[in-house]
Symmetry: C2
DNA sequence: GATTTGTATTATGTATGACATAATAAAGGT
DNA sequence: ACCTTTATTATGTCATACATAATACAAATC
């Protein structure tokens, strides 16, 4: 037998994607290129099937995906119309800590830290007196910080969640909400090194003080300090 | 006719979701609750149809959605196995600037700023000498900053994209890549107020200097300054 | 006997036809 | 004009059949 030493490069890669995949891509492209606005209707399933030369089954599966992504909404008799999708609503379904790779989980955890440090300017721009009062109420209910506290998740979420709310950025808030189960998981699983030193750094109360009297710059540094334990765990 | 003054609260909300929606939710829940690991197989379509009491058509549409989300992969004869999803790959398809609401676009733009300011610690932790050299090469090719530059998008992407790369956070990098068309759109469309003052703030070169000799804190402040024009446009 | 080749099996992929259901339009009655 | 009924239309669901690809196992070749 001749050893022809053929390599992958010698072949033209065959397209292994299914018809549904192609139709889906075709439809998404349709939405992207034609400047279709929200509310515009798209052709009926049967018409699509005829123009694309596939059965209604395939069309329906592809449309089902678009529907799940929130790109379209369908009503009987009326057909399908384009809608403004909820970016993170979809992603929430696949945000399953048990399935995501450890590397991805770690990265998501990092992103949280990045967001909370970087959000300072949004906070100072949009915070109200009521917000500050609410934050004060939250920290006042806080259990005293003990040296070996496995910190109170409830309070963590209440405080940091409120910060996301103050930014006024709904997209970011949804993002945070979606990530909550991940944080929970990362904390509990031994994914990160055990809490290394657990020195108590700048407290929630300290952060509120900065929000009341300080500057974005001061808040960034304060938050960085507040999150030091997390950073230390990430960086081994 | 009696005006009974009935309100929504008086009715039990009818479930308007389709069978496919329910099956999809049921399957997602299955993946979440059972601690199914990557690689585990799920029942065959026909079995699922029998246990859930629906036709194979419905099962297939639901599975098609999971497949699109990257939660499962299916192969003929073998069936479906659980996979680790690409979180942002899916979202990219619905990231269509023409369809997203103006408010969402603005918020996404904000998130970019937040990320780039907050990423300082990751940068300093992971940057290498080669990275610095590469950044220097990028800025050296930069056209001189003119007062009225409608800044060079190419260079913006090259420089800031490299920063995301340096973070070593693949998830964040994917996020950035996904957002590129949005930035392009936001810049071009009149969504944000016209460039207000266009003073030249801290340059790319200045940021590289900080990365080489400075601290995370200095970088955060530097990046904040660098992005001042964007902030100004966001905050009217 | 080990490797290859053919063949059967099995589960997904696609197509088609049928009917149910809901939303809309049209027609009809008062 | 207003309300009701009827017809129409497009999606939602089901059932069935066949195509296709992956796998396992038997058969053939050396």
């Amino acid at each position: 037998m001749m050893d022809t030493l053929l390599t992958k490069k010698d072949f033209t890669i065959v397209d292994t994607s299914s018809l549904v995949d192609k139709v889906e891509a075709s439809l998404v492209q349709l939405l992207q290129e034609r400047k279709l606005k929200v509310g515009d209707a798209i052709p009926k399933e049967i018409e699509l099937g005829e123009t694309l030369g596939v059965s209604r089954t395939v069309i329906r599966e592809a449309l089902s995906r678009l529907r799940m992504m929130g790109l379209i909404e369908t009503k009987k008799k009326k057909g399908a119309v384009i809608t403004s999708p909820d970016l993170f609503g979809i992603m929430g379904k696949s945000m399953n800590p048990h399935i995501l790779s450890q590397e991805t989980l770690k990265e998501i955890f990092e992103i949280r830290l990045v967001l909370e440090i970087g959000m300072a300017d949004l906070l100072f721009r949009r915070i109200t007196l009521e917000d500050i009062e609410e934050l004060k109420a939250i920290v006042s209910n806080e259990p005293p910080a003990t040296q070996y506290h496995l910190f109170n998740i409830e309070h963590e979420i209440a405080f940091h969640g409120k910060l996301y709310e103050i930014t006024g950025n709904e997209t970011m808030k949804k993002f945070q909400k979606m990530l909550l189960p991940v944080f929970d998981y990362v904390h509990n699983s031994g994914l990160l090194k055990k809490q290394p030193l657990l020195k108590t750094f700048l407290s929630h109360k300290g952060l509120v003080d900065i929000l009341e009297n300080g500057s974005p710059e001061a808040f960034r540094n304060g938050m960085r300090d507040h999150l030091e334990n997390h950073f230390a765990r990430l960086f081994e």
